[in-house]
Symmetry: D2
Subunit: 354 residues, 4 copies
Amino acid sequence: KRAREYGIRIGVLPTGVLNAITDVQGVRVGHTTLVQGQEVRTGVTAIVPHAGNVFQQKIPAAVYVGNGFGKLAGSTQVVELGNLETPIVLTNTLSVGTAMKAVVEYVLRQPGNEAVQSVNALVGETNDGGLNDIRGRYITEQHVLAAIEQAQAGPVAEGNVGAGTGTVCFGFKGGIGTASRLLPAKLGGYTVGVLVQTNFGGVLQVNGAPVGQELEQFYLSQQLKDRADGSCMIVVATDAPVDARNLERLAKRAFLGLGKTGGIATNGSGDYIIAFSTHPGLRVPYASTATTQTTTTLTNEAMSPLFLAVIEATEEAIINSLFKAETMQGKQQQRIEALPLDKVLKILKQHHAR
Amino acid sequence: KRAREYGIRIGVLPTGVLNAITDVQGVRVGHTTLVQGQEVRTGVTAIVPHAGNVFQQKIPAAVYVGNGFGKLAGSTQVVELGNLETPIVLTNTLSVGTAMKAVVEYVLRQPGNEAVQSVNALVGETNDGGLNDIRGRYITEQHVLAAIEQAQAGPVAEGNVGAGTGTVCFGFKGGIGTASRLLPAKLGGYTVGVLVQTNFGGVLQVNGAPVGQELEQFYLSQQLKDRADGSCMIVVATDAPVDARNLERLAKRAFLGLGKTGGIATNGSGDYIIAFSTHPGLRVPYASTATTQTTTTLTNEAMSPLFLAVIEATEEAIINSLFKAETMQGKQQQRIEALPLDKVLKILKQHHAR
Amino acid sequence: KRAREYGIRIGVLPTGVLNAITDVQGVRVGHTTLVQGQEVRTGVTAIVPHAGNVFQQKIPAAVYVGNGFGKLAGSTQVVELGNLETPIVLTNTLSVGTAMKAVVEYVLRQPGNEAVQSVNALVGETNDGGLNDIRGRYITEQHVLAAIEQAQAGPVAEGNVGAGTGTVCFGFKGGIGTASRLLPAKLGGYTVGVLVQTNFGGVLQVNGAPVGQELEQFYLSQQLKDRADGSCMIVVATDAPVDARNLERLAKRAFLGLGKTGGIATNGSGDYIIAFSTHPGLRVPYASTATTQTTTTLTNEAMSPLFLAVIEATEEAIINSLFKAETMQGKQQQRIEALPLDKVLKILKQHHAR
Amino acid sequence: KRAREYGIRIGVLPTGVLNAITDVQGVRVGHTTLVQGQEVRTGVTAIVPHAGNVFQQKIPAAVYVGNGFGKLAGSTQVVELGNLETPIVLTNTLSVGTAMKAVVEYVLRQPGNEAVQSVNALVGETNDGGLNDIRGRYITEQHVLAAIEQAQAGPVAEGNVGAGTGTVCFGFKGGIGTASRLLPAKLGGYTVGVLVQTNFGGVLQVNGAPVGQELEQFYLSQQLKDRADGSCMIVVATDAPVDARNLERLAKRAFLGLGKTGGIATNGSGDYIIAFSTHPGLRVPYASTATTQTTTTLTNEAMSPLFLAVIEATEEAIINSLFKAETMQGKQQQRIEALPLDKVLKILKQHHAR
C-alpha cells in the first residue's frame, strides 16, 4: 500500500484525486518491466505530457540539475528553447542510447511528422547495476516504444516497475513513485504531479521521522558505508500556466523535497528534475510561421504556492516508491530488501508521524 | 539556549567543539547590532575567513543561488575566478551599497594593499523591513568596519544580533544561527561550519517534527498567508581542501538543509549560499608571478561525507537562529514573537524529536 | 567623428536614425564626467530604460556574463526574476557601492515608491585605475543622481565621458560608444541599441581590418604585453517584445560583437552584457495583485535577426568609443593616446574596410 | 588546399606543426564517411584524447553551450564532475542514440573495464538533413566504432569527411576543419588545437574580409533568407595544465572565434564547445581509492594567452572547413556549392587579407 493508505500525511496541502502525476490532465505514464532469469531487472518508464502530437505542439519545460553525475540526454535544448518536444523516457544508465533511438523513431513515424529532421529526445536514467546485469543491455527499442505507446491516464503502477524495476533507495528496494498536490481554488486550483525513479541514498526520513537511524541503515553507518550513490530522476508536471523560466524555479524546489526524505545528493548520484506545463494555452506550435505568441502565464509572485506543492509531492512520491517496492533478488544473488513496513510504521507511530 | 542544549540532536554526525562556524580554524565572526528607539532594528555580521590579509591570500570559494531575489554583491567574480578576496558581510537589503563601500575601504587600507585598485566585496543581505525602518538606512560604513574589525574566534552570538537583528523566520523571530559538523578521522576529520541569517518562511519542521503545523502557523495557513517571503543567507566554511568547483556542489547541498527546516524558497526569498575553504594549501596569492599553482584537493568522490555534513549543519544553524532569537518589537509597533520554546519542546517530545 | 562618418559601414543591417541606444524609444542616457586636476579621470553613465517609474513598471531583462572578473551588482536578481527595476548605472570599480546607494536613494524618493523596502540596483563598472586615481573614490552619490536625472533622449555623447572618462581599450583611449540597428519592416521593424563602456584589450580589428597588427600594438606584442586586461560593460536595449529568456540569448550574442573587434576577454576583464526590452506590453507592474500576466512575445525562431543586429551594433559601438575618445593624460603623468585616426583610416582604405 | 596554403594568416600567433588538433600530443582523430547513392551524405568523426584507456584515466574537461539547440549527450556529467571519460564522437542529429550505444560498447569492451557499469558517452551532432537523408538513419554502431578505432595522430582529413560529410556553412559546403596555435616558450609553449564540424550561417568573413557580402550570399540577403540555421560543434584540446573551471572559460572564448567568421548563432544552431586538457599530470584515475589528488594547474591569470590562441584556432579551423570542402550533390538533387575559392581569393587580395 501507498504511504497515505497507512495514514501518513506528508505536508499541508491536499492531494489530487489519484495522488499521482496523472492528476495533471492529459499526462499519461507507461512502463515496460523486464524481469528475466536471475540477471535481468530493469525497465523503461515513459511520461507522455499530452494526448496530441508533442513534437507539433511542444510544451514549456525546464531542467534543473541537482547533481549532474548522470546521462540526461536532451537537457541542453530544453534549457535553451524552454520547451519539450517528445515524451520523457526513463531507463537504465547504459540504455540511454537505445531509448534515444526509440524516441526518435516514435517521433519520426507519428502522423504529421513526415518532414521532421531534428528530434530532441529527453531521456533520463538511473543505474540499476546492483540488481540488474546492466552491462547486458537488455533494453531494446521495442521496450521503449511499448512504454510510450501503452502510456495511460489513471493510477500509476509504483515500486518495482518500469525504470524502477532494479533500483535501490536508502539501502532498501526503491522504484517508481508518484504523488500530487492540489492548490486551493483561490490560489488557482492548479495541480502539481510528480513521478520519481528512486535510486539514491542518505539518511532516510519518513514524514520527518528518523527511519534510517532507527533501522540503523544510513549513509556512513556501518552497514551502508558505500551505498548512498545512485540517482533520482524527478519528473514534475503541472497544469498551471507556467513559463520555462518559472518551471526551472519549480524544478529546483523539487530538489528540496528529495532533501526532506534524507537524500544528500552524493557525488555519484544523478539527481535531475524535469518540469513541464501542460496548460493548453502555452503550447508551442512547430509548424507556425507566426513570429509572436501570446500567452497568459503566472507571475513570479504567484509561483510560491506551487513551490510548496512540488516539495510535498516530491517527498511523498519518493516515500511511495519505497512503500510500494518489494524485496527483489537479482544478479549474482544480490538481494535488496523492501523497506520493512511493519517496523517503519511502528517508528512512525512512535514519532507521531502518521 | 541552543537546540542541542535541549537535547535536540539533528542528524547523525558529531558537531565541532563549539558547534559553530568558528570551529573551522581561523574563521572569525563579528556583529554590529543596531537597536535604537522604536524604529531601528538592524545590523551587520562579518565573517572573516582567515587571520591574514584575505586580499593577498585569497581563498577558494563558490556561490550557489537557491533563489536569486536578493542583492548579493560580488557573486559573479567569485563564480568566475573561484575565489574570495574579502571578508563576507551580511546586512539589510538597502545597506548593501554602504557595506560594499566599507569593505573596499577596509581592503584598501590594510597594510600590503597600497597598490590595490580592484576589490570584489562580497556582501549579502536579507530584508528586515518588517521590524526595522529599513528605508532609514541607518547602517554606516563605521558599523560595517566595526563588525569586521571586532570579528573573533570562539563562540558566536546568535539570535537578534548583527544582520539578524530584525529578521523574521517562519513567522517567528529569526536571526543569526550557527552550527558545525566534524567528519570521522577516517573520512579526513574535516570540519564544516555554517552561519545563517534567517528571514524566510514555509512550514517549520524542527528535527523532523511538524512544529509549524502544530502551532498552526505556516505558509498558506490562515495566520501567515503572506509571510513566507524574506531570505536566507548561508555561509559555509570548511577546512577540507576543496576546490571551487566542489565548493559549489557543497553550497548546493546547504540548500537541502534549508529545505529540511521546512523552507520553501518562495519567490521573494533571496536564498544564497557562499562556501569557502580555509585550507592553507589552497590560498591564491595575489602578488604571485607564478603561472602555475600546485594544490592537493579532495576528489569528487570524497565530497559525499561533506555533503551530509553541510546539510546537517545548515539545518541546525537555522534551528539555532530560531531558538536563540527573542521576541522583538520594532517599527510601527510591529511585534514578532520568539518561537514559543515551551510549546515547541513539548511538540518535539511528542514526536520523539529530542 | 564617429566611424560611420568616415564611411565605415559595419555589417549588413541599417542603423537607426541616431545610430545610438536612444534609437530605442524611451531610452535615455546621462553622463557625469569628472576630470579634476591631474588625478581624477572618472565618471558615471546612467541608462534609463523608460520614462515612467521603472520600479513600478519593471521591464524584462537579462544578464550574460562574458567574463565575470567584475563587480556587477544586482545581476542575480535580474537573472532570477527576469526583470529590471532601476536605471542601469556604470561607473568605476571602486565606486559601485556609492552608485548602489544613489540608485536606492533615487528609487526610494520617486513618487509612488513611498512603501518600497527592497531595491535591486543594477550597477556595472570597469577599472579606470590606469588614468584615474581610483583609490581616491571621487564619485559621490550626487554624481550618480545627476547622471540619472539628466539622462535624455537624442544623440549620446561618446568617448571620454561618463563612465568611459578614464578607460583604455586595445591600448588606446577607450570610453563610451553607442550604435543601433533597425530590422526591416517585414522582420518586425524592431530596433536594437547598444551602449558600451570600453576598457579591454586584444588584437584590434576595425571592420575586419587588422588595425592592431598594422599599428604593432596588440596583446602579446612587445608594446602591450600586459595591457589587455580591463573590462567591457555592454548594455543592449530593444523595443522588440522579447522575454527574459530570449533576452539572455540576445545578450550572449553581443559578446560575439566584442569578439569581432578583436577582444579576447582576458582573465582580468569584466565583460558583462545587460539586455532589456522596452516593449510597453511587457512591463511587469509592481503593485499588481493579478496572479497572471498576458504578453505577446517573439518566438524563439524570430530571434535570429535580432542576433545579427546586436552583434553588429556592439561591434560598431565599441569602434565608436575608440573613434570618439581623445588622448588623455591622467594620474602619475600616464598618457593614453587616442586611436591615431589618420593612420587607421589609411589602414582601412588599404583593406577596403571603408 | 587549406587557408594558410594560400597565404592567409589568421591572427598573430604561430600554428603548431600540423596546424591541427593533433598537434596536441596524444590526440587522435578518426572519420567514417558515408556517401552512398543519391541520398546518403553523412558520417562520424571521433576525437580520442589520449592513447590510454580514457575511462580509467579520465581527463579534465568542460562544455560551453553557445546555443543549446542541439543534442549534445553527456554534457551535464562533464560539467558536474569536470572530466571526460570517453572519446568524443560527432555525427548527425538523428544518430546520437546510435553513437551513444557504440561509445558505451567501446568502453565496456576495453581491457580493464570489465567491471564498469556507468559510461558517460559525449556525443555531439549537427544536422546534415539538407544533403543527407537524415531520417534514414544510416549510421550504425559499426561506423562509430570504426571512427574511434581508426583514429590516428598526424594530419587530419578536412572538408567532406566524417561528421562533416553533409554539412552546409554560410550557404556553402561546410565540413570538418582544424587548426592549432602554439604559445611562445616564455608563455609556457603550450599548444591549443581545435576541430570543428561546421554547419551554420551568418555573414561570412574570411580573415576580416567581407566575403559573404561580396558574394552576395549571407543571412537575410535575398539568396539565403532561411539558411543560417544549423550548428557548429567545436572541440578544443590543449596540453596546458588547465583545470575544469578554466577549461570552461577557454571553451567560452572559442565561441568568439566562431563570431569572427561571421557566425551569429541563430536560434536553430546548436553551437557547443567541448574543451579538454591532455596534460598527463591531470588525469583522474577511475580506480583510485585516494581521497585527494595533487595537481599543478595554470592560474587564472595565466589563461589569457590561451584565450587568444583558441579564438584564432577556432576561426582558422572554420575557414579551413570551408576551404577544404567540395561541392556536393545529395538527396533530392540538392546541390551545395563549395566556397568559390578563386573569387574568394580575389576578394581577400582586394582586402589585403592574404
